[in-house]
């Protein structure tokens, strides 16, 4: 018979439970997890080093690309620090538009999480429903910013696009629809027995452990830690909005689900307040190309928790140093603690419950993009030429294929 006493199973870097590469090594006794270790860094792209070599305007777009889901969070956290160093007084209307996109992004992120959570516990119907409704908020974001992801709304000193009254109407209508659907999901999650059974008592982080391990965002709030940067260290115009911090005392994955669903409802109310109270005025102020020497630390409550950006300027048009702490990095280190003494079956949902974003977490070193190894390096042009030759030698000519497809399209 096989030794079922102690089995080590690798979860990742490639695994169906993970949407991005990360490696967990899980030791099992039967179905129980006795130990878990994390190896991070698979998505290290060198954003911090890259930011030092680019201008502030270029960096806005680079920083947004740290993460696809919370791109506005990273962009805004970065730009806030830059504006603080430059001493820019951002117009109130711009602040409101930033908040609007920020809250829509939170709605998008939480709905996406709900679907992923459903999938991880084998409840695909929830995945299909919540991702269908996620389309509504993605359409709204596209209407506001022109993009479904990577909204690119920010510029130094304000925002790039305005929100007119017709658009405001559309947003309010979309939010009404989403609120109705979210109420239904709250009902499903509080009534469906199998869902409650799979989520309760799983991945427990007690209140004391949450404080000790410094988890952030919904993960902390589900352990009764009422921390929310929007309240504690208000940025933009969050001190003008009426909202409450959603917490839960469940301390488990079920609590994290309830907190996120509750935050969805709060976000809908905040979006309505933002649209209703949107002040008139310009959406941007003129910003200098060169930012004076100085440093600033900016905090932002991203959907997954607190996002921290530190920027140091040296008087040129490029930053001296940019430091990013994505919320997942704070939470990921607590995952091995959460996994211990759980069942293997709970592993996917425990990992998913912090809403991990490994691309966010791994940022810093720039390695030549076309690098296939330390001794074998191609630049972008040579890699492209190599690719074309590779397929041509096997009888596939993409240039010719493209031409013939274009011809056929024209005929239609």
């Amino acid at each position: 018979m096989p030794d079922f006493g102690n089995v080590q199973i690798p979860v990742g870097p490639q695994h169906p439970a993970l949407k991005e590469p990360e490696s967990f090594l899980i030791t099992l006794r039967g179905e129980k997890i006795t130990a878990a270790s994390v190896r991070m860094g698979y998505n290290h792209r060198g954003v911090e080093k890259g930011a030092e070599g680019r201008t502030y305007t270029q960096d806005i777009y680079l920083v947004e690309r740290i993460c696809g889901i919370c791109s506005h969070s990273h962009g805004t956290a970065f730009i806030q620090a830059v504006e603080e160093i430059a001493g820019l007084d951002v117009p109130r209307r711009a602040k409101y538009i930033r908040m609007l996109v920020g809250e829509l992004e939170r709605v998008h992120s939480h709905l996406l999480w709900l679907g992923v959570a459903g999938h991880e516990i084998g409840f695909d119907t929830l995945l299909m429903y919540s991702w269908r409704d996620r389309e509504v908020v993605m359409d709204l974001l596209a209407a506001v910013s022109g993009n479904r992801v990577h909204y690119s709304m920010n510029t130094v000193g304000g925002v790039r696009r305005d929100v007119d009254s017709a658009l405001a109407e559309t947003i309010l209508k979309g939010v009404d629809r989403l609120e109705e659907q979210t109420k239904y999901y709250i009902q499903v999650c509080s009534e469906e027995t199998t869902v409650i059974k799979r989520l309760s008592g799983v991945g427990v982080v007690t209140h004391e452990d949450a404080l000790r391990l410094l988890v952030v965002g919904p993960t902390a709030r589900a352990s009764g830690v009422a921390r929310d940067i929007r309240k504690d260290d208000p940025y933009l115009a969050y001190d003008e909005l009426d909202f409450k911090i959603v917490t839960s005392d469940h301390c488990d994955v079920y609590g994290r689900t309830l907190v996120r669903l509750g935050e969805l409802m709060e976000s809908y109310s905040m979006i309505r307040q933002i649209v209703k109270n949107m002040p008139d005025g310009p959406i941007t102020v003129k910003a200098p190309r060169k930012i004076p020497a100085g440093e600033a630390l900016s905090r932002y409550e991203a959907p997954r928790g607190e996002d921290v950006h530190y920027v140091k300027a040296n008087g040129t048009e490029k930053p001296e140093r940019v430091k990013v702490r994505a919320p997942t990095l704070a939470n990921l280190q607590a995952v091995s603690h959460m996994l211990r003494d759980n069942n293997l079956a709970d592993m996917p949902i425990v990992i998913a419950a912090i809403d991990p974003c490994f691309s966010c977490t791994d940022r810093a070193v720039e390695i030549d993009r076309a690098d296939s190894g330390p001794r074998d390096r191609m630049d972008w042009g040579r890699l492209r030429a190599h690719g074309i030759d590779f397929y041509r030698s096997r009888g596939v000519d993409f240039t010719e294929l493209n031409r013939s497809l274009t011809r056929r399209m024209k005929k239609l």
Partner: protein, 313 residues
């Protein structure tokens, strides 16, 4: 001899079962998709999947028992097809029948589960190993309630032959009402046998990738998938024969139509259940089977024994 060969290979044998299995998979997937607000696959999707798998390279992992690894899918397929021959479909008699065939069918339906276990066990992969262990653990959970659920009607009819069982209920359709609890239990146990949500624990992809089938590819995976599809038809036919044996004297055309309706109804029920619930954990599944299903099944047996004493002795 010629007729027997046609019966085994064409109708109602392998070819019919393969077509029915693929059609069943399509209906299951389509309904599941519609319940989830999706379009779902076109009608030929299961067939296309099957053909595509056949054309793919099959890999046998290093260190695996090559013979066993390749043989298991064939075993699974043979067992589910054989079981089908002993189940009465649209008439009151099966293709082959003898006085203990109910027990044989139940045991033949256990064989595929063992082939999944052995196939996974010989794959030499941790995911497959865990999947195999779960397959076997799950078998011990749902098998007893399933056997007890089928035992109830058999006791009432006083026979171990499925054909005689259907004859008994054909004469006394009102007696079917006594087996309602058994029907629900058997349906739930069938979900476990077919490894479908909420009991798809042995192949939970987010936990152990593909479970026992992680290392299977190409032809062998195609046979395994086909055997699952046919197992669904065989299982549904068994349930239809034991718990829904009415309208069996209608002749071939009408009887066959009614049989298809029954099978469709059962597949729709399966699709509905799996779109409504989340996957259970193995410990929760065992707890549910032994603490809820098994006692209710026992109760069903006792009730049937009492009824038998009162009405049919």
């Amino acid at each position: 001899m010629g007729t027997a060969l046609i019966q085994i290979l064409v109708f109602p044998g392998l070819l019919f079962l393969a077509v029915a299995g693929l059609a069943g998979e399509f209906i299951d997937r389509r309904l599941y998709a519609r319940f989830q607000n999706r379009m779902g696959p076109p009608w030929f999707q299961p067939l296309a999947d099957f053909i595509k798998l056949l054309s793919k390279e099959e890999l046998v992992p290093d260190g695996a028992d090559r013979g066993l690894f390749r043989l298991m899918p064939v075993f699974a397929l043979t067992a589910v097809v054989t079981a089908f021959f002993y189940i009465p479909l649209w008439g009151t008699s099966a293709l082959h029948a003898f006085s203990g065939d109910a027990i044989v069918v139940l045991y033949l339906l256990t064989i595929p589960t063992f082939t999944y276990f052995l196939g996974g066990y010989t794959s030499k992969s941790v995911y497959a190993l865990l999947g195999s262990a779960r397959t076997l653990t799950q078998l011990y959970a749902y098998e007893v309630p399933l056997f007890l659920a089928v035992l109830g009607p058999c006791l009432l009819a006083g026979t171990w032959s499925l054909s005689e069982l259907t004859l008994f209920f054909q004469a006394r359709p009102w007696a079917l009402a006594a087996n309602a609890a058994g029907f629900v239990i058997a349906l739930i146990a069938l979900l476990g046998k077919l490894e479908k949500v909420p009991f798809d624990i042995p192949e939970a992809e987010t936990e152990i990738v593909g479970g026992a089938f992680t290392e299977y590819s190409g032809r062998f995976l195609a046979w395994f998938r086909l055997s699952f599809d046919i197992e669904m038809i065989t299982g549904a036919s068994l349930l239809a024969a034991v718990f829904l044996p009415f309208g069996l004297g209608l002749g071939f055309a009408a009887g066959f139509g009614l049989y298809l309706v029954k099978i469709l109804f059962l597949i729709a029920l399966i699709a509905l259940i799996r779109s409504l619930v989340a996957r259970l954990r193995i410990d929760q599944m065992i707890g549910f089977c032994w603490k809820v299903l098994a006692p209710v099944a026992f109760l069903q047996v006792i009730v049937n024994l009492v009824l038998k004493g009162i009405f049919f002795s």
